[in-house]
């Protein structure tokens, strides 16, 4: 056997080693950052949830499930948890349906597509804090245009939207729906373009003439995976509600708009009870993980259309 034939065979392992070394060098910065900024802090947060850690008091004590027991008895936390559920329960379905409706409506014709898409997408790229303040003006009990309109329509005493404990959560939900509908619309539009136009035309040829029947028989089943995806994403995004509450009511009046992340924020960064705050974070994380698990489970099992 000649040397020329041997050379590549001997070079191959060396090349593979070189490739592995290069790969590790390329991955190293990301791996270090991942370790220091994501993995370790996340594990630390989980560990903190089982301690009575407070900033300035060292060392923290391991108290097992103490924080969770306190949470269970803490009426403030239960209120916050309930509010978050209500908020998600209102915002997720409404913004998904609105997003779907807008996407269908825009895709149904050629005229004004780009324009309306831009209009509905605007809240996604608007500074949330600034828009929250704009909403505060819009919903202001005495000088707000909404109540001025209601008074003009003959409503004698329109509600004080953001300072009434009966209405505040509903008002935040309305803002949430407004914020998220355009985002969902864009995701649905992406899903719709993936459906071959011929399929709908074929349905027409087969005698399915009403637009609703075509939607029910063709579009909707094919949108299944997109819909499931949009629903979970919207729920996860809604659970994170924080900005609007922090800017407008700080959880008030009387904890009527207290939500999970805002409670976590005040416990951790205002009262510096980091252990308790970490426990709330853990509850938040478990909900998010459960939603993601649900999504992959259903995606794997049920939604298979090819």
């Amino acid at each position: 056997m000649s040397d020329a034939a041997l050379a590549p065979a001997a070079a191959a392992p060396r090349r593979r080693l070189g490739e592995a070394l290069g790969a590790w060098l390329l991955t190293l910065p990301a791996a270090l950052a991942f370790l220091l900024l994501l993995l370790l802090p996340t594990l630390a947060a989980v560990a903190m949830a089982f301690t009575d850690f407070e900033l300035g008091i060292w060392p923290p004590l391991w108290i097992g499930l103490g924080n969770f027991e306190e949470m269970w008895e803490d009426r403030g936390f239960r209120q916050s948890f309930r509010n978050t559920l209500v908020y998600v329960g209102l915002v997720a379905p409404a913004s998904v349906l609105l997003g779907l409706g807008l996407a269908l409506l825009i895709e149904a014709g050629a005229r004004g597509r780009a324009f309306f898409r831009a209009v509905f997408f605007l809240p996604v790229v608007s500074l949330t804090v600034a828009m929250a303040v704009a909403w505060q003006y819009l919903l202001h009990p005495t000088i707000g245009p909404l109540n001025a309109m209601l008074r003009a329509l003959g409503v004698a005493a329109p509600p004080a939207w953001l300072s009434s404990s009966d209405w505040v959560l509903l008002s935040f939900s309305a803002i949430g729906i407004w914020e998220q509908a355009g985002f969902n619309m864009v995701l649905f539009m992406a899903g719709l373009t993936a459906i071959p136009r011929e399929l709908r035309e074929a349905a027409s040829v087969d005698g399915v003439h009403s637009a609703w029947e075509r939607f029910r028989l063709v579009t909707w089943p094919l949108l299944g995976p997109t819909t499931l995806f949009v629903v979970t994403i919207t729920m996860i995004r809604s659970i994170r509600v924080f900005d609007t509450v922090a800017v407008l009511t700080r959880g008030g009046p009387n904890k009527a708009s207290e939500v999970l992340l805002y409670t976590m924020y005040t416990e951790g960064f205002t009262f510096l009870r980091l252990g308790y705050s970490a426990a709330i974070t853990l509850v938040f994380l478990v909900i998010v993980l459960a939603l993601m698990l649900l999504q992959t489970r259903v995606l794997d099992r049920r939604v298979h259309y090819g």
């Binding site: 590790w24 991955t27 900024l37 831009a118 600034a130 864009v186 992406a190």
Partner: protein
């Protein structure tokens, strides 16, 4: 579907959607006493009130400073995210090495964790190091984007191997291939990621609120919050002027590159 009722319906819904913007703009042009009469008229009675409102904001709010802080924060975050995520995404997509499955597993695991979870320990660490109230505090925690690694990995997988072999035969190092061959060919993914990252961090309130006190490093979001709680009081006209100024930059950027924004958010939507 007939445009006869599609367009009016869309217009109606569009007006509802735009109502906060329309009223924000309208209020920013009115005099305070006119606002307090709560008239439903959109146009201001006096043509000069806006000068006072916007004048007050520009006098009292360091608008340029806030915008600069926002640009530095978003620019810094994006720079490091790309610096870390692009090579890692390339290695995961195109190179064979021991431990690759582990790295990819870590990425998938990282995708499950919302940024609020590591926030508490990161805050403790930054406060122990004395790093609060700085650009570093704003930028460092967001420099690792597992989503970025995932996105670039997916995109690089579809790059033809011949392209990379050819570059190797030309004697290019792997690092040079990443930045000079792979990245230029992944431009759509890079723009989508950039838009996603900038929109998310520009609008974020949670982390800046935690690590900053005072206004020196305040981002636009924090700046608006500060003006509202500390200074504006009941002067809704000036407040709306401030909101208009602070909302404008990103909206203008969006209007100029509308299609890219929408596509960017649609492709990156899965991160939420």
């Amino acid at each position: 579907m007939a445009d006869r009722w599609r367009l009016p319906l869309l217009t109606l819904l569009g007006l509802v959607m735009l109502a906060p913007y329309i009223w924000m703009l309208s209020a920013s042009l009115k005099a305070t006493d006119e606002l307090f009469r709560a008239s439903l008229q959109l146009l201001p009675e006096t043509g000069t009130a806006w000068i006072e409102n916007y004048g007050r904001v520009l006098r009292e709010v360091p608008v340029a400073q806030y915008l600069l802080n926002g640009v530095v924060m978003c620019g810094g975050i994006l720079f490091f995210q790309l610096l870390f995520a692009v090579p890692a995404g390339y290695a995961l997509a195109k190179l064979r090495f021991a431990g690759r499955e582990w790295v990819f597993g870590a990425v998938m695991l990282g995708l499950l964790v919302p940024p609020h979870v590591p926030a508490l320990p990161l805050y403790v660490a930054f406060s122990q190091l004395g790093w609060l109230n700085s650009y570093a505090a704003l930028i460092i925690p967001s420099t690792i984007s597992v989503f970025g690694i995932f996105l670039f990995r997916q995109f690089f997988r579809s790059l033809p191997d011949e392209l990379i072999h050819a570059a190797r035969l030309d004697g290019m190092s792997e690092a040079a291939i990443v930045w000079q061959v792979a990245l230029p060919n992944a431009w759509p993914a890079a723009t989508a990621f950039a838009i996603f990252s900038v929109v998310a961090h520009w609008n974020d309130l949670f982390w800046p609120l935690i690590v900053l006190t005072g206004t020196e490093y305040a981002t636009p979001a924090l700046g608006v919050l500060h003006f509202r709680t500390e200074e504006a009081g009941d002067d809704f006209a000036a407040l709306m002027a401030a909101c208009t100024i602070m909302t404008a930059p990103l909206i203008l950027a969006f209007l100029f590159a509308q299609r890219r924004f929408v596509e960017g958010i649609a492709t990156t939507g899965l991160k939420g």
